[in-house]
């Protein structure tokens, strides 16, 4: 499936979301937090990170960066809103172990570093390092194709292909 994505140029109703982190992709349903597993914030996937660098998965604009820097929202040029939430229950860490390279309103390109975090600090202080990546505006989505349970490389491996409503 992924070879096909690379082989064919996507049309304007499709958008490929690249991996924002190095790690293993797992289904959202396996995330041990109902906010994500029940898709309350939107559909998507999760990554078990291997290191602490988060890059932008699309070309677009930073639309939200929580003060604690553990979550970032990026709107793609086609209008998809992608939320990357580093770890689970990381809001209670109050930013410890997190730094950001961008601000709300910044334009970003695929692969541009946006957040760096200490994997150790998250592992020790939060519920999990599992990082959900969800699309928060489902009204734009017709269908989502994902491929899980495999290793991905940040900005190189696609993790989702979204067909948008016409």
């Amino acid at each position: 499936m992924f070879k096909k994505w690379f082989g064919n140029k996507t049309n304007h109703h499709e958008e490929v979301i690249m991996a924002p982190l190095n790690g293993e992709v797992i289904p959202l349903e396996q995330v041990p937090d109902p906010t994500f597993s029940e898709k309350m914030l939107g559909d998507g996937v999760a990554i078990v990170p291997r290191d602490g660098l988060v890059v932008s998965p699309v070309k677009g604009e930073v639309v939200q960066l929580f003060s604690t820097k553990h979550a970032i929202g990026i709107r793609s040029e086609k209008g998809l809103e992608i939320l990357i939430h580093v770890g689970l229950e990381t809001v209670s860490m109050n930013g410890e172990g997190f730094e950001s390279y961008v601000s709300k309103g910044d334009r970003v390109t695929v692969g541009q570093p946006v957040i760096r975090f200490s994997l150790e600090t998250v592992r020790e202080n939060a519920k999990s390092t599992i990082t959900p990546i969800v699309i928060t505006n489902p009204e734009f989505i017709n269908s989502i194709q994902i491929e899980t349970n495999k290793e991905v490389r940040a900005s190189e491996t696609p993790i989702m292909m979204i067909t948008m409503k016409e």
Partner: protein, 87 residues
């Protein structure tokens, strides 16, 4: 149109789970609903919009509702933001 100033008491503010629940609640009403912290009015039915407000505990927000069920919408959302059971 109705407008109400509310002090948010949710422990983690309007983040992740509470943001999702707030948006889900707002979406259940027919009225158009917006929320603001200082100057920008955000569509209360947008997850990213509400999270972008980055409302933390103790902050004041204003909710606006305009439509056939605006009374109920304001009351329900105010209770949600004040109540401490959802964080």
């Amino acid at each position: 149109m109705l407008e109400k100033k509310v002090t948010v008491h949710l422990k983690n503010g309007l983040h992740a789970r509470p943001a999702a629940q707030f948006v889900k609640t707002a979406t259940s009403f027919k009225s158009s609903i917006s929320i603001t912290k200082d100057k920008d009015y955000i569509n209360a039915k947008s997850v990213m919009g509400v999270m972008a407000l980055a409302v933390t505990k103790g902050e004041e927000v204003i909710i606006l509702a305009d439509g056939p069920d605006e009374n109920e919408a304001i009351t329900t959302l105010e209770e949600f933001l004040i109540g401490g059971d959802n964080d």
